[in-house]
Symmetry: C2
Subunit: 202 residues, 2 copies
């Protein structure tokens, strides 16, 4: 069964795509509604037919960014597999996620807006920064199974994520460094696994 795609829906999507593209280039404040309409190849009136105001368009897009980010992978703890292999797989997964070029541009827009509009940092949004749940769940299970030392899983998780983001996320967000190559991702994964397990493996 094919889903019906109305012209209205196409226009709406064009507006969202155009706005996002303009935001990525100029930032939210320096992107006008005229510019958005032009980028989306749509009349300005059509923009206002779909979104009551610029504010609504911006928050819709930023919330959409977050919503897409919530879907993470699910790798479960395996009792019969070496810890380092499992952890490496989980971290590699996180890194692929964090290094995604497309995602980084979206997040840059969201951060640029949220820095001076902190009120939209609602609970639903800050989830992104805490929701790497597959990894937390894995830590909990490994601790329960007695294969990791007793720790607050939240703390161990925060340490792992900090180690990854500090080298594969923040420098890229700030335009300091290009995305990591596959070899670099590999190396960072191994380093982090060794570092982490040296301290936490039971």
């Amino acid at each position: 069964m094919t889903v019906k795609v109305t012209r209205s829906m196409l226009k709406r999507q064009a507006i969202i795509d155009g706005a996002l593209s303009a935001f990525q280039q100029y930032g939210v404040s320096d992107t006008s509604m005229d510019k958005i309409a032009q980028t989306a190849q749509v009349s300005k009136r059509t923009v206002y037919n779909h979104f009551e105001s610029k504010e609504q368009l911006v928050t819709h897009i930023i919330k959409e960014i977050w919503r897409q980010n919530i879907l993470t992978c699910e790798l479960e703890y395996q009792a019969d597999m070496a810890l380092d292999v499992q952890l490496a797989a989980l971290l590699k997964n996180e890194l692929d996620f964090l290094s995604n070029q497309n995602l980084q541009e979206l997040i840059r827009v969201a951060i640029g807006y949220c820095l001076f509009n902190p009120e939209i940092f609602t609970a639903e949004m800050s989830e992104f920064f805490e929701q790497e749940t597959a990894l937390i769940r894995w830590i909990k299970q490994a601790v329960s199974a007695g294969r990791l030392r007793q720790v607050e899983p939240q703390k161990a998780h925060a340490q792992l994520i900090s180690l990854l983001k500090g080298q594969a996320f923040w420098p890229q967000i700030l335009h300091q460094q290009p995305a990591l190559t596959n070899a670099q991702i590999e190396e960072l994964t191994e380093d982090t696994v060794a570092f982490f397990l040296a301290y936490y493996q039971a």
Copy 2:
């Protein structure tokens, strides 16, 4: 000897302070030159007498922020002191620096501007993110003295800084969390020292 402070210098400083204060509240794009003049209690013409354009005022302030940040403390490696005590002192120093409320607001302005104006991220600016030199030097010396395992000092340093920033800097910059309390700084320091030395101590 008292340094002569001219009225012109006072006005200039008032402009800088006013602009910075307005930037912190509204972000650069959403702060007008009229607003800056008003905040600084100065006529708009005086603003333009000191700074040729808004662009020049912005870049002057942001460069000044960076310049101030380059001055870090100097704790040297001591051959006759326990590693964990020395490292704890160094990390505590970094944390006091990163948790400085005033600094965080300045950096938020700089980041908000640089996100969509990456060209001003010149070499002199990105230094801030690499210049925690006291810590790097300490690692090098401890490695040379055979008290830390052989590693690239840059890598070990990056790991330490990531662990600190991930919990005491980025969440605060993004308005997610309040500044760390002294007790939390203490705890983070101890955790990080233990984590790091478990892997790297020779």
